[in-house]
Symmetry: C2
Subunit: 400 residues, 2 copies
């Protein structure tokens, strides 16, 4: 197990307290991060229906999933074997049966078929059809939306969680170094992506990497005017910019980091924007400390950029930590105007105030934790636009 | 664009025909594979709400998504800019607004707010909450489940799609070779995973790799008794088996492949099981041809294994091709008893009849397309248990 039995039962206790506040008798978790957080479960099995059932009056949660994956639950969770309840393959991608019928029957067997059932209505892995099938199976139950209940429990990290995130920070330093090395005029984007992956997954000598919840995002050229493009097998070009947004991941805990590379002398406008972004990040990190509102971080950033005539429509960051694809954000706190969350030590965020203009963009980011007096960034990497005066020779052409 | 304008409009036409059959006036697509299939859209943006709206009486679909991602739609789709309709960041992870309210208003503007609306009720990226919010916004609409409508349109591939999948087959041959090279006693699992990633993403000299919809699955030792474990930073051990399930991916088209490696002489029981699996796959591939039922493939397999005293509870394969995380399966056809789909040329499947026993397991698989007379596997890789008599020296210890 990656955490002590005590840490898991403590998490479970805090979850049950929130369930009681929300009037939830049983909580049905499908978000793989929440399942992992409470049980330790880890496997690429969330593409079929699976759940962790947290009963208000049972000591352990119950894992429900596909038969072939039950052994994964036995190997990776702290649950007793009796609390691992598999369904047969006949439920998979069937037009006549649905796994939620099975789940409904399990709830009935545990005496919860007519109780108040908390659902993650906004989870990637609880579809609209799951909701309909479950309601049909349990017509006398009361359903409540408990989408972010466990996400909020996860907001403040334990010391060991912070340690994992700092390790992820070491891994992302290595990944970013590989990225900057690999991005050269004439090099294929896919080769750079391959190199980034090898760094992030292999990890450091002491700590192996895990798969990040988002693939490397490396938009280049005009593609930098939007943040979420991946790569092609075309080549990087001299005179163009490339954004790199990646994360180190260790035991499913993330440390994201973004930088921007210019191959050759950057456009003066984008150099100016980069400097403003760095100044804005510095100002925003400077005011972070326990007791302030999250929105104050964004205000400090906005104060800097508006002085330089730059506007930004979107939020500049979000809470993050433990995660599975497709997102490493926790979907709770956003660093933006109106977010009145009060900062506390060991909250962790990714601050990524990207600026995307019509035909080009810049991203620099920092992941940080709130400390007792201020904050601490998770990765140590120069906070600046990377300018490479490259003289790359295409090895394929060279030896062809 | 990766396909001709003609191919996209042809796909759209076939989709509209099925919409008419199903009585759907407008189809709301959230499955990223279906969005890509009809529009060309490609980006890691499906972790926020986005949709492709297919109107029965409009020439082009409409993309709706986050403002910062609108440029990605302009760069990757064949749609006119007017058909790209972004919503603001205030809708993201908000407790007071929801993107489906915006989508509802777009439908009303197009005159479809009271029509028959087809939903992908079983998509990963259309949550139960999306469904509720949309119903509340459009109380006079009629909602229909159209979950797999486009998935079924995708079942038979075009010649260019087959070409992409064969290219993915070349990439997975390279990835599997790297995997087998990297899996050695004393080597860390994460280093093998890093090496596999580099091969799959870098691709071949001619064709760069794309990210597969599932990460490399490399359960080892007792972990081979379940299929969907990833990796740790512990080392492979002499005398243990490791399963490798990976896919090459090219332009989002997949070619999955599984093999099993034994480090040192295999347990005779598992060697026996491997031989039976190979014999079963051979028998199953042998009977594939247009005109037969899909379930006949499974029957041919089962006939072989039952003769050897082996049973398998789960399906042995599924339709696949174009995909995004978290699954490369198409969720339409399953190779199992009862599936009466009639095979036709250019249907494509991953046949993966894994056998997982109490403490160990074996997987070998083949991806194949149905041809005019029979079938053709997409990757050329020896179909056998890989036995390595390894003499690996840990480089960290060697140079420490």
């Amino acid at each position: 197990m990656l955490f002590s039995h005590n840490e898991y039962t403590n998490r479970l206790q805090r979850t049950k307290e929130r369930m009681e506040e929300a009037g939830v008798d049983v909580l049905l978790l499908t978000n793989p991060s929440n399942i992992n957080y409470l049980s330790g479960y880890d496997g690429w099995t969330f593409y079929v229906d699976q759940m962790l059932l947290v009963f208000s009056d049972e000591k352990q949660p119950v894992w429900v999933g596909r038969l072939m994956d039950a052994k994964a639950a036995k190997l990776t969770t702290w649950l007793d074997d009796d609390n691992i309840i598999p369904y047969g393959d006949k439920y998979i991608h069937s037009s006549v049966r649905h796994p939620m019928e099975f789940v409904g029957d399990v709830l009935t067997q545990f005496g919860y078929g007519t109780k108040r059932i908390g659902l993650e209505m906004e989870s990637y892995y609880f579809s609209a059809l799951c909701y309909e099938k479950l309601r049909n199976r349990l017509p006398d139950a009361t359903f409540l939306d408990a989408s972010l209940l466990v996400n909020w429990v996860r907001l403040i990290k334990s010391d060991l969680e912070i340690e994992y995130m700092k390790t992820a920070g070491k891994i992302v330093e290595k990944g970013m170094t590989s990225a900057i090395d690999a991005i050269q005029s004439g090099a294929r984007q896919c080769d750079a992506a391959g190199s980034i992956y090898q760094s992030l997954i292999s990890g450091t000598k002491e700590f192996g990497g895990d798969y990040p919840a988002i693939v490397p995002l490396i938009p280049t050229g005009e593609g930098t005017s939007t943040p979420h493009l991946t790569w092609t097998d075309r080549s990087f070009k001299h005179g163009e910019m490339t954004i790199i947004e990646i994360a180190g991941c260790y035991n499913r805990y993330h440390s994201p980091l973004a930088r921007t590379v210019s191959l050759g002398k950057p456009d003066p406008r984008m150099e100016y924007v980069s400097n403003v972004v760095v100044e804005g990040i510095n100002a925003a990190l400077d005011i972070v400390k326990p007791g302030i509102y999250v929105e104050e971080i964004e205000a400090a950033w906005r104060n800097v950029i508006s002085r330089h005539g730059i506007e930004k429509e979107s939020r500049i960051g979000y809470a993050m930590g433990l995660s599975y694809p497709p997102d490493w954000g926790e979907h709770t706190v956003s660093i933006r105007e109106g977010d009145k969350t009060v900062l506390q030590p060991n909250m962790t965020f990714h601050m990524i105030p990207g600026i995307w203009l019509d035909d080009s963009g810049v991203e620099l980011s920092e992941s940080f934790r709130v400390t007792n007096e201020g904050c601490e960034v998770l990765a140590d990497f120069p906070r600046e636009l990377v300018v490479k005066e490259d003289g790359y020779i295409d090895p394929w052409n060279q030896y062809a």
